[in-house]
């Protein structure tokens, strides 16, 4: 199909060639028409190309830096092919130096590839003006950025390649930065213009893929907008941990132990005498198991029941002992009615080996003889006419609450570790901010 408009017969050439008036080297202009200044790649002189007659602006003799991304190199970042056409070294008046590569694609315009302390970002000039959300927060679209650096001044220390404005060595702009995880918002201003750039943090892997740059390890402290590597990990870890723990809990509830089985009920005499009851035989099948014992005294009121359990192995006469007491009091005073304790008591004996056992229960009921009004008018709950009973139940199993706690602890260890690292990362990241809220700043 023929297009209904005139196409140029030949594609327009992409580059314009010129000769450096300082060293005679061939200089290629990759963004012709946009480019104002080009720094000769051979001698570093800065040339003005706005005129057909190329003018020498500054003869610059610094040996051209060995660039990590030689100018003219192309790489694909986030789906778009870019060519590195310019290179700047900038600093805060000589300190905290950083590097900026200018990327160009005739159909997509310009981007900045910024390297600070080994970390890379992809910068795009904004066509929107940020909104103040609060005195130290700016909003762009749906994103909020916190103020990080204020009153900075960036100076151009070294320049190579081409630029869409007149770059001069020593050129200064006022800077300020706002950050959010994964992105930084930078403001640059001089007497003529104010520009805003959104710099997206680039994972080292992306740069390696695009321009073959080996990732640098140990960027510390982290860059202001570097997302914590532990943040996502913790989120995923918490979810996985919760699922794992819920599963363990369910598993424990459904499969971990056996049911309580009523072992026997015994009457408690009113005279407070110690009584003994023997239950058995009880078969414990597992190599080792815990034995849980529960005593219930439904009618216990203003008194206690002492319980001494002895689990006796019929074969070896080995004894495993436990002690339990159920106590319950109630009454009424100037604050109104009160009660404490309960009519049941639970104890566990851990690690009982397999065997056939008898459970010997020694128990004794006691009445509270304090000044309580209840006990004064009779035998109370130990009324012989209404013999109270203690019901002893038993359960065996491998489940200990401590097992679950250990599981929880094991799940939590890596999460805690990550959390500690995350907090250290975030603290270090924020420590450089002019708006740090950390304690170090308050100490001054």
């Amino acid at each position: 199909m023929q297009p209904d408009f005139a196409l140029q017969a030949e594609p327009a050439p992409a580059a314009r060639a010129l000769t450096c008036p300082s060293c005679g080297g061939g200089v290629e202009l990759r963004a012709a028409g946009y480019t104002v200044h080009v720094a000769c790649q051979y001698c570093g002189s800065i040339l003005d190309v706005t005129d057909p007659q190329v003018k020498l602006v500054t003869a610059y003799n610094q040996q051209s830096a060995e660039l990590e991304i030689p100018l003219g190199t192309r790489g694909t970042l986030r789906g778009v092919e870019w060519e590195a056409i310019g290179y700047l070294q900038r600093s805060e008046n000589g300190a905290y130096g950083w590097e900026e590569y200018l990327l160009f694609n005739p159909y997509h315009g310009y981007r900045w590839l910024v390297k600070v302390r080994g970390g890379w970002s992809l910068g795009e000039a904004l066509t929107v003006t940020p909104d103040w959300l609060s005195y130290d927060q700016l909003g762009v679209g749906e994103e909020a950025f916190d103020h990080f650096f204020a009153d900075g001044e960036a100076r151009v220390d070294y320049v190579l390649g081409e630029f869409y404005w007149r770059v001069a060595l020593g050129e200064r702009v006022a800077t300020a930065d706002w950050v959010r995880a994964g992105a930084m918002l930078s403001r640059e201003a001089n007497g003529h213009e104010v520009s805003w750039t959104r710099n997206a943090w680039l994972p080292p892997k992306e740069l390696q893929k695009a321009f073959g740059i080996q990732p640098e390890a140990g960027i510390w402290p982290p860059l202001p907008h570097q997302p914590s590597p532990w943040g996502g990990w913790i989120k995923t870890g918490l979810k996985l941990g919760a699922v794992a723990f819920a599963f363990l809990l369910l598993f424990a509830i459904f499969f971990g132990g056996s049911q309580w089985s009523a072992a026997g009920s015994f009457a408690i005499t009113a005279d407070g005498r110690e009584q003994t009851a023997t239950l058995g035989p009880i078969t414990l099948p597992r190599r080792y198991q815990s034995v849980h014992l529960r005593a219930e005294v439904p009618r216990l009121e203003n008194g206690w029941v002492d319980l001494d359990y002895s689990l006796v192995d019929r074969r070896t006469q080995q004894v495993y002992e436990a002690y339990g007491a159920a106590e319950r009091y109630s009454g009424s005073d100037s604050d109104g009615p009160w009660s404490e304790g309960s009519g049941s008591a639970e104890v566990s004996i851990a690690s009982v080996p397999a065997g056939i056992y008898d459970l010997v229960v020694e128990y004794k009921g006691n009445r509270w003889t304090g000044t309580g009004s209840y006990s004064a008018d009779g035998a109370g709950w130990l009324d012989p006419a209404n013999v109270p009973e203690v019901k002893v139940e038993m359960r065996q199993g491998v489940l200990y609450a401590s097992n679950l706690l250990i599981a929880l602890f094991l799940i939590a260890i890596p999460l805690l570790f990550a959390l500690v690292r995350h907090i250290a990362f975030e603290t270090a990241r924020k420590s450089e901010s002019d708006f740090a809220t950390s304690a170090e700043d308050d100490d001054e």
Binding site: D4, F5, L7, P106, G109, W165, V194
Partner: protein, 224 residues
């Protein structure tokens, strides 16, 4: 509907597509021509356009708000620190707009009578005051920020134009930006003030057909 006339300088066929656009640069001899009832007169010569790698070219088609346009003219401006293109778009309904192309970004601007602009700061700038970058300006219901203010000079032109863009024509130009991509430009010379208002656009949202092919670069997928 278009009017074909011979160039008074070289005789080449010159097309005038819109009655609203009296100016035309002859594609062959680069004469600046002005059309009036009396015919076509040559008012000067325009410098050759310097080589550039803009993806836009005369003849490019596109759509804005469901209205088709064609790129029919261009003025190239320069300031002390750079240069940019203003492409003239002619819409199907005969109206026109400008597509400003600077630093890889595109602004779509419609001319608006300056008499309608009530902003005090802008009125003062029109009266000869300096614009202060960073200053906020209330325009209708929008808050704009002065992003850029400088002396600019017309370098070259091509195609059809609504005014005589002579090489060397000097203007004071002020760019404004809004929070959500709104933009405006005020241009002032000795005679008059013109005001343009619009928004930032991206090339893909103009659905361009007939982008300029540039050697070594793949045409973007949106232009296929």
């Amino acid at each position: 509907m278009s009017l074909h006339l011979p160039c008074p300088n070289c005789g080449a066929d010159v097309v005038f597509r819109s009655p609203a656009l009296p100016n035309r640069v002859c594609d062959y001899c680069r004469s600046m021509l002005v059309r009036s009832d009396a015919g076509v007169a040559r008012v000067g010569e325009v410098a050759a356009l310097p080589f550039d790698v803009s993806p836009v070219q005369i003849g490019m088609h596109g759509r804005v708000e469901d209205k088709g346009f064609e790129v029919i003219g261009r003025v190239r401006w320069a300031w002390t620190d750079g240069a940019w293109n203003e492409w003239l778009l002619l819409f199907e309904d005969g109206t026109n707009a400008w597509l400003g192309e600077a630093m890889g970004q595109f602004m779509l601007l419609w001319e608006r009578p300056f008499a309608q602009v009530r902003t005090r700061t802008l009125r003062e700038i029109a009266d000869g005051n300096e614009a202060i970058p960073g200053a906020e300006v209330q325009l209708d219901n929008e808050k704009l920020v002065i992003a850029d203010a400088r002396e600019v000079i017309c370098v070259a032109a091509e195609g059809e134009l609504p005014f005589t863009a002579g090489t060397g024509w000097k203007l004071y130009s002020v760019d404004l930006r809004g929070r959500h991509g709104e933009c405006a430009t005020l241009q002032r010379d000795d005679q008059e003030v013109t005001f343009y208002q619009g928004r930032y656009v991206t090339l893909p949202e103009l659905a361009p057909r007939g982008l300029r092919a540039i050697e070594g670069w793949a045409l973007p997928s949106y232009a296929a």
